[in-house]
């Protein structure tokens, strides 16, 4: 069955143990999470979890309805890929040498990366963008040698004045 990449935004009670309740549902029902982020929201009572996964239509519906059954889950919305803004942040440490330094800095510049730390043997760069941009950056610096890297996973909001509380079309 055809699988699509989907982004799910979840508003939950900002309480002890809620994240494990949400992730336990995915584990128990055999759905694989690609990325997960969680953080504070405009209201201290709630946290917002953003989960991306690849899922067929029936699985998507099942994930959403199972999430809605969780007591601490207040709102679940599948964000449309076209109608949302999404960003991911990466910190990446690339091997540095006199011969490669210029090319690394140039690559970082093209991708609007920021140099966070510069040492004789390593350069640490911050890159922000959608996931494909970050994937692209990784491809371009691979040959220099990636020492370590760390990605946050996607955070996403609806475009315009639409919010998670607005009516979303269910397809």
């Amino acid at each position: 069955m055809k699988k699509d990449k989907i982004i799910i935004a979840i508003y939950v009670d900002n309480q002890y143990g809620v994240l494990s309740r949400v992730t336990a549902m995915f584990t128990r029902r055999g759905f694989n999470i690609d990325s997960l982020t969680v953080g504070e929201t405009e209201s201290p009572a709630y946290s917002r979890i953003t989960i991306t996964l690849s899922a067929a239509k029936t699985d998507k519906d099942q994930v959403v309805s199972q999430l809605r059954k969780l007591y601490n889950v207040k709102k679940v919305v599948v964000l449309s890929n076209e109608e949302c803004i999404k960003r991911e942040l990466m910190l990446i440490k690339v091997r540095n040498s006199d011969e490669t330094r210029e090319r690394i800095l140039e690559t970082a510049n093209i991708f609007r990366g920021k140099i966070i730390d510069l040492g004789e043997e390593a350069i640490s760069i911050e890159v922000t963008g959608d996931s494909s941009k970050i994937d692209g950056f990784i491809q371009n610096v691979k040959s220099f040698g990636i020492i370590e890297m760390c990605r946050t996973g996607i955070v996403a909001l609806d475009r315009g004045s639409t919010t998670i509380w607005s009516d979303h079309e269910e397809d």
Partner: protein, 559 residues
Amino acid sequence: MKMTGAQIVIETLLEQGVDTVFGFPGATVIDIYDKLFDCGGKIRHILAAHEQGAAHAADGYARATGKPGVVIATSGPGATNLVTGIATAFLDSVPMIAITGNVSNSKIGRDAFQEIDITGVTLPITKHNFFIRDIKVLADTIREAFKIATSGRPGPVLIDIPNDIQRGTCEYASKRKIIPAKPPKAEDDAIAKACEMISECKRPYIYFGGGAVRAGAGKEILKLAEKIDAYIGCSMMGLSEIPTSTPRFLGMQGMHGHFASSVALAKSDLMIAVGVRFSDRATGKTDRYALNSKKIHIDADCAEIGKNVSVDLGVCCDIKDFIARLTDAVEAGKHPEWEEKIKSLRARESDAYDDDTFVPREVILDVASKVAADTRIATDVGQHQMWTAQFYDFRQKHTWLSSGGLGTMGFGLGAAIGACFATGKRSVLITGDGSFGMSLNELATAVTYKVPVTIVIFNNRTLGMVRQWQTLFYDKRYSGTTIERQTDFVKLAEAFGAKGFKADDIDEFRKVFDQAYAYNGPAVIDMKIDTDAMVLPMLRPGGTFENLVTWKEAENEEG
């Protein structure tokens, strides 16, 4: 009024209408038990032999009445012993409140004596659970637990209360009893769509399950069936919601369902599924399940729509309201060809039992003919359970107490005891020698409280259901299923202080059952059953209803 946490627990239970709790005390619930001692018998505490038995009793109490069952256990092993009981209630959507003690908050996370993360352990088997960190939220949390357990699709809720919370003090003000929230009513569009589908069908079949029992929708289903000329079948969880003798009722369908019911489901061109979740034991292979029919699925739980079987119209709503409105709106129908087809299926089914030589059936029929209509019938899990489901004549709601989803051997005795406390009347447990061995310690509880439970052990000296699979699909290689114990169930019953009887054939059974049933306390009947008796018909593993294992085929395999 200022109260201790333990007092608040008792007061809140009283406020929520609790009159009976099942449990077993221990170090971290001594304070709750101390206040239970003070409540002047307004809450009856039933001491079980084992926390699992207490949990099954709370479950049986709930199934027998529809009211939530309450169980109390101490931390650590007390709490983990509840797990099978909670999971059993979860899989069958039974409203239950489990209260556990835990070590004081200051010791949490330090692996203190009898400390266990029971909210972590029960996370996937409760509708929701709570750990109390602050005494100020204790009363409202218990109230919320009752609301969650009884609203929408019911289920078990666990509340873990550390000892310092029980000993602390806080203001308490009584509140009203929680009214369970109903699922939303269906939109008119959904009713109209269902009417349209019904008007186009020629072979309608209403298939209901546990959701219809929880909603109490039996009468509404019957009315709808009359109006649209549909036949009715149910899942194992649906049994007893409508009387077995209902002319349109074909009985349980599924893996060991009635032949006519299962085949009619496969032949129908419209299935109206009410409060079912299309379990694999009911459907067989889902990609070949009921391919001839369009499907309407109505359930209180939105996540059930399309989970296992894709449907043409799925409505997540108050099912009793939906069926009643649909019955008003739909045009009456008549389907004489369908009636003929059903007649012939029924004739083939009754041919299979044209004499009275099948002992398990005769035993069940005898029990059914002698007990009162409102007698709760509990079972364990295995062949005896399926035979009871197939042959017992259910006459009243909430009389069938059996572990469907989890299939818990050892469920029955606790459940039967719980049912006796709920109804104040007799109950009957049909069990097997394998299942009974798992929970017979609760005989002690039945004796202590003089519980009028009549226990019929189908003793075939084997784990019969597994043996049946081994006979049919594993070349008669009886690995691990032959029971070579020397247990004397009559002496065992007597040692516990119960009555014990033995019957080697059906005539003896008829006599001893009368004596056992007349006894006002627990009585055990050790009934001898043929080791090779089988539950038929049977859906092959991964098979379809067009290809059932029937009596003829099984005869060749027997012996």
